[in-house]
């Protein structure tokens, strides 16, 4: 295998990594917000179920969750799982990351001073207006560093998709390394991850800077 072939094969794997990464973010960032609302629900059973969901998502390995999401429908209900692998991967990643994002959002919302809510209430803002116009914009600024951490972790966590035979860049690196008895694929994968995370950090840094106009 020439270096060029190795590089192009792994670049294709990197695209699959990025696809999983982007779709997971698109799903889990908004879902996390819904989870926070469910957790803060005044109807206690919903709040309890949400607590259990977050505890399970954070308390068990993501790889195990992926296997359960994929094999669960067959072993529990006998459903055919043909062609369901990528969907299962997405569900697994999104559900897991939504739980982490929900906790980050919650800590941000809880850190808001009560005075902001009271000022909005006196001015006649509805609950939704208060959240969307006063609370959320400030929460986003507060939680951005934690979100950045989580997003960078996600880039690396995509390698767990190999558990469901998803040929992302790291499992390709393992395969090529084994067949070529070479460490080079790991080096290439490392560079790919580093570049991807550098881009993520740069983008997040820009967003953070754009919010530094106030303290």
């Amino acid at each position: 295998m020439t270096f060029g072939t190795m590089l192009s094969t792994m670049a294709a794997g990197m695209l699959k990594t990025i696809l999983l990464f982007v779709l997971t973010l698109l799903g889990s960032l908004p879902l996390g917000m819904i989870v926070v609302f469910l957790k803060k629900s005044k109807f206690k059973p919903i709040a309890w179920i949400t607590d259990i969901y977050i505890a399970v998502m954070r308390g068990t390995p993501l790889m195990l969750q992926l296997l359960v999401w994929y094999f669960g429908p067959y072993y529990l209900f006998g459903f055919s799982i043909r062609g369901y692998k990528f969907t299962a991967l997405l569900i697994g990643f999104i559900m897991n990351y939504a739980a982490y994002f929900a906790e980050i959002y919650r800590s941000g919302i809880d850190s808001m001073p009560i005075g902001q809510y009271e000022a909005a209430e006196i001015l006649g803002y509805s609950k939704i207006q208060t959240f969307m116009k006063i609370i959320l914009p400030q929460v986003i600024k507060r939680i951005l560093p934690s979100v950045t951490n989580e997003v960078i972790t996600l880039v690396k966590d995509t390698s767990l998709a190999s558990a469901l035979a998803y040929s992302e860049v790291f499992s390709l690196a393992k395969q090529i390394s084994a067949s070529q008895t070479s460490f080079m694929p790991f080096l290439i994968a490392g560079i790919f991850y580093f570049v991807a995370n550098y881009v993520v950090a740069w983008i997040m840094n820009r967003i953070e800077k754009s919010m530094q106009y106030y303290k």
């Binding site: 067959y74 072993y75 692998k85 035979a165 395969q175 067949s179």
Partner: protein
């Protein structure tokens, strides 16, 4: 239940691989490097202990040479790094020498191995040609995988006819997926396949072989002396019947054991 146990074991394996193994003992310590999830050659047995044909044979070799046995289970992908770093003295875990002849110092071959296609009973796949357009599973970095990737001497052309080649971290997951209907067939070593089928009736091999090879013990290239000591011990264990006795505990591979007593050669 058994299937979820298998999933649980996979996770446990990972945890153990991460923790590694670093105990210090006096005298000559022989560090046996192996894949923890490659039954029946090396695996965790029902008591949670490390076991398998290769493990037992290696322990017998150590006992014969007066060495202290040390288990070094590792991630199969990291086998070369582990060996070159000196974390283990050998790779001894159903390790195929074919195609890697020049990369290691090899012991004598102690077991034959054949790569087969494993399908569920009642499958419409009856020959290698029938695999065209099917989803086939394989474990990464195994001889079956190498065979399907090799277009010159292996089965690369056959692989190109598959609808997809699904590459798993372990055969346990691949077999789960076959049971659940996620894939149509598994390309696997005959011994590993036999082991999987022994606990799960309702599966069979295609008659046609995918390929064949020999298992041996791989040492660092400059470790010829150690290799000779192991070879001598192996032959002695064959001659005194230990090799055969251990082999009989593993009926699914017994027929592939290829070492013969010295008086018969």
């Amino acid at each position: 239940m058994k299937k979820f146990l298998a999933i649980g074991l996979t996770v446990l394996t990972l945890a153990m691989l991460l923790s590694g193994c670093n105990t210090k003992k006096e005298g000559k310590v022989f560090k046996h490097g192996f894949d923890l999830d490659y039954p029946p050659y090396s695996y965790i047995d029902d008591n949670g202990e490390v076991g398998g044909f290769d493990v037992e044979l290696c322990k017998a070799v150590c006992e014969y040479n007066g060495w202290t046995y040390e288990a070094v289970p590792f991630n199969w992908d990291a086998k070369d790094a582990e060996l070159n770093a000196g974390n283990c003295d050998c790779i001894w875990s159903g390790f195929t020498r074919n195609g890697r002849e020049d990369d290691y110092t090899w012991s004598m071959s102690y077991s034959d191995n054949t790569q087969m296609i494993l399908v569920p009973d009642g499958s419409d796949i009856t020959s290698l040609e029938d695999l065209a357009g099917k989803a086939v599973g394989v474990q990464t970095a195994t001889s079956a995988y190498d065979l399907l990737q090799d277009s010159e001497e292996g089965q690369g052309e056959l692989c190109a006819t598959f609808a997809s080649l699904e590459i798993y971290d372990t055969y346990t997951i691949a077999f789960n997926d076959l049971q659940a209907g996620g894939i149509d067939a598994i390309a696997i070593d005959i011994t590993s396949g036999n082991y999987l089928m022994s606990g799960n009736p309702g599966y069979h091999f295609l008659d046609e072989e995918l390929g064949s090879e020999q298992y041996a013990i791989g040492f660092r290239k400059d470790d010829t002396e150690l290799c000779e000591q192991v070879n001598t011990a192996l032959q002695a264990l064959v001659d005194n019947g230990t090799y055969d006795a251990i082999g009989q505990k593993y009926p699914e591979i017994y027929e592939f054991l290829c070492l013969k007593p010295s008086n018969a050669q």
